[in-house]
């Protein structure tokens, strides 16, 4: 029997038994599509979180006041348990640590902002000119804070996009004065809309010089120091250097915690990988169910067609040609079903992205391959196995089976 005839017969058999073929396609496509969509969800969640964190800035080392529990026992801690303030001088000293590119001190508070009779609450960040680069922010108008060499703090403010809109509408706010708390500050710039990071939007922020903020909040201690390393490779070096420097300045007391963004990302990545695996587990179950469906449809259909096998043998077909016919048909059905399922899955994931544009629901390649593989293998195994057995029967035994 020629290969082309083999293919034509198998294709005819697949299209000639519409109910069986339809059931098989249904089982396979649901199984594969479930895998594709579910893993797209899981992996999408993982990507979403990573993207959120990456938006904070790159190569970041973060210093926070207070010792973390994992710091080990330090005799100094036994003597004095109140952590020293994390000061602007501490922050500036970090510029001398090898590998450090920029630093941005950070102090945070809520305040009222008021212009032209309009009043609202806002989050205020006190920082320096480098904050914009460290956090990779963009401006839509004007400039960012300028270098404050004396450390007195100038009366300047950069507005978040939403604050600007609420206070000034479409009018140009540059050079105008706003009242922040008990101070009058001059607007020097406006942030671009849609800045994100750590789930917080920058649209409702006020950014002012750190010295100004410290005076307003009447506080010396910083909330954070953001340190940017020169490269990814230098992050660890910078981390230990920063810790050493601050400990030295704090009379040998290790009263700060230094974390890297990498560590945070890694932890989340681990958690989310587990999530993806969990989702993949669900997907695997749906695939197993699909596999069982495929198995049953195949088993029933081959049993129904034992008579056909008998007839083919009576007409002179060898066991080999019979096997080949059934293998070809199983391949055709499995591959088509698998493809259909993959297409359906991708369409479903695309629909998800359409509905939630912020959510990167892309199915991972391994999941697609695993789904396709399982569907095709189960289709092949359960299509071919019984057909092989039927092909071994004496023609009359096969022929008289109904």
């Amino acid at each position: 029997m020629k290969a082309l005839d083999n293919l034509r017969y198998a294709a005819g058999s697949a299209t000639g038994h519409l109910l069986r073929t339809g059931l098989l396609m249904l089982a396979m496509s649901i199984g594969v599509a479930a895998v594709v969509i579910l893993t797209a969800l899981g992996d999408g969640a993982r990507r979403y979180v990573i993207e959120e964190f990456s938006a904070i800035g790159t190569n970041l080392v973060i210093v926070l006041p207070g010792r973390s529990e994992t710091g080990g026992l330090n005799p100094a801690n036994l003597i004095t348990s109140t952590p020293r303030d994390l000061t602007v001088d501490d922050a500036n000293s970090l510029l001398r640590v090898p590998g450090v590119k920029r630093i941005a001190p950070l102090i945070i508070g809520t305040t009222e902002v008021n212009a032209g009779g309009k009043l609202r609450e806002a989050m205020m960040i006190g920082t320096n000119e480098d904050f914009m680069h460290v956090r990779q922010m963009k401006l839509s108008l004007g400039r960012f804070l300028t270098r404050d060499n004396i450390g007195h703090g100038s009366a300047e403010v950069v507005l978040g996009a939403l604050i600007r809109e609420e206070l000034f509408g479409t009018a140009n706010p540059l050079g105008k004065t706003v009242r922040v708390g008990d101070r009058r500050l001059r607007v020097v710039g406006v942030l671009s809309q849609g800045g994100r990071g750590m789930g917080m939007t920058t649209d409702e922020l006020l950014i002012i010089p750190v010295a100004t903020a410290q005076a307003m909040l009447d506080s010396n201690t910083l909330f954070r120091i953001l340190v940017e390393a020169r490269s990814r490779e230098q992050i660890e070096e910078v981390k230990s250097g920063v810790l050493k420097q601050i400990t030295q300045r704090h009379d040998g007391e290790e009263d700060v915690t230094v974390i890297t963004q990498d560590a945070v990302l890694e932890t989340f990545d681990k958690i989310l990988n587990v999530l993806t695996l969990g989702v993949a587990g669900i997907a695997a179950i749906s695939l197993a169910v699909a596999g069982i469906l495929v198995m049953n449809v195949m088993l029933v259909s081959v049993t129904q067609r034992t008579a056909e096998i008998g007839l083919l043998k009576a007409l002179g077909a060898t066991a080999d040609s019979v096997r080949q016919l059934f293998i070809t048909e199983a391949v055709l059905l499995s591959v088509t079903g698998g493809m259909l399922g993959t297409a359906l899955g991708y369409a479903g994931a695309a629909l998800l992205r359409q509905i939630y544009p912020a959510f990167p629901a892309y199915p991972p390649v391994w999941a697609v391959l695993a789904g396709l593989g399982t569907a095709i293998v189960s289709g092949l195994v359960f299509g071919v196995m019984p057909a092989r057995r039927a092909a071994e029967l004496d023609p009359i035994t096969a022929l008289s089976k109904r």
């Binding site: 029997m1 020629k2 005839d5 017969y9 005819g12 058999s13 000639g16 038994h17 008579a307 056909e308 007839l311 083919l312 043998k313 009576a314 007409l315 002179g316 077909a317 060898t318 066991a319 080999d320 040609s321 004496d394 023609p395 009359i396 035994t397 022929l399």
Partner: protein, 244 residues
């Protein structure tokens, strides 16, 4: 045995036993039979006497438990399955009471099937199928599915399919069993015409009148051939098959 050399088919001590749970049915008991080329044989006998089993043996659809079967002087019972398939393809045509057409294939495609399985090139196949359709008056039914055909037409498709590779032996198991008398006659005349062209024809039938048309009649009872009668003297030399 000089018999074997001259015979198309020689059966010696053929046995076939079926087991159904505890019960044992001897469908063929020590069957000896010699058939010459171009004979026309009717096999008759009561239901369950082993007629179909005998025909299936000759058609290599079933294998005996004991005995030998020589086809054209060659022992075919010991052949490997693939070699048997080749013999079925080239030397034997089988016609069933229930036609056994593949429902999703058209009349033409059903007739073409043995050629496809034998690996005959497409152009050659088309030519032979067209000719067969003409010979059996099925040209205008070529693209009809079996369920769009009458019983007689279906059996004609089946006969065309069985003979498309010009087999030496044509085996028909109650070919008119599902047909009315007139259509049955028509089918039998087709078979007889093929026999007249030299094809050995063996027909299993319950119909006395049909059986009487054959030149040689075998009667089976309980797995044995109990009578073997020839109407015409000139084939009696070959008709020495003993009753068991």
């Amino acid at each position: 045995m000089q018999d074997d050399a001259a015979s198309l088919i020689s059966l010696h001590g053929l046995e076939r036993t079926f087991y159904l749970g505890d019960s044992k049915v001897q469908a063929l008991r020590n069957v000896d039979l010699h058939i010459s080329p171009s004979e026309y044989i009717a096999v008759m006998g009561p239901s369950g006497s082993g007629k179909s089993t005998l025909l299936n043996m000759i058609g290599l659809l079933d294998r005996p438990d004991a005995g030998t079967y020589l086809l054209e002087g060659r022992d075919v019972t010991t052949l490997k399955p693939d070699e048997q398939a080749k013999v079925r393809s080239e030397r034997i045509g089988f016609i069933f009471q229930s036609f056994h057409l593949i429902p999703r294939l058209t009349a033409a495609a059903n007739i073409e099937l043995p050629l496809v399985l034998a690996g005959v090139p497409a152009a050659e196949r088309a030519r032979r199928v067209k000719q067969a359709l003409q010979e059996y008056g099925l040209t205008d039914r070529a693209h009809h599915l079996p369920n769009q055909l009458s019983g007689g037409q279906r059996q004609r498709v089946a006969i065309a399919r069985a003979t498309i590779l010009r087999p030496a032996v044509l085996l028909a198991d109650e070919p008119t069993g599902n047909l009315d008398r007139a259509t049955g006659e028509e089918v039998v005349r087709l078979l007889e015409a093929l026999n007249a062209q030299g094809m050995t024809l063996i027909v299993v039938t319950h119909d006395q009148a049909l059986g009487a048309r054959a030149r040689r009649q075998l009667r089976m009872e309980d797995g044995r051939i109990v009578s073997d009668a020839s109407d015409v003297g000139d084939v009696s030399a070959a008709a020495t098959g003993s009753s068991g």
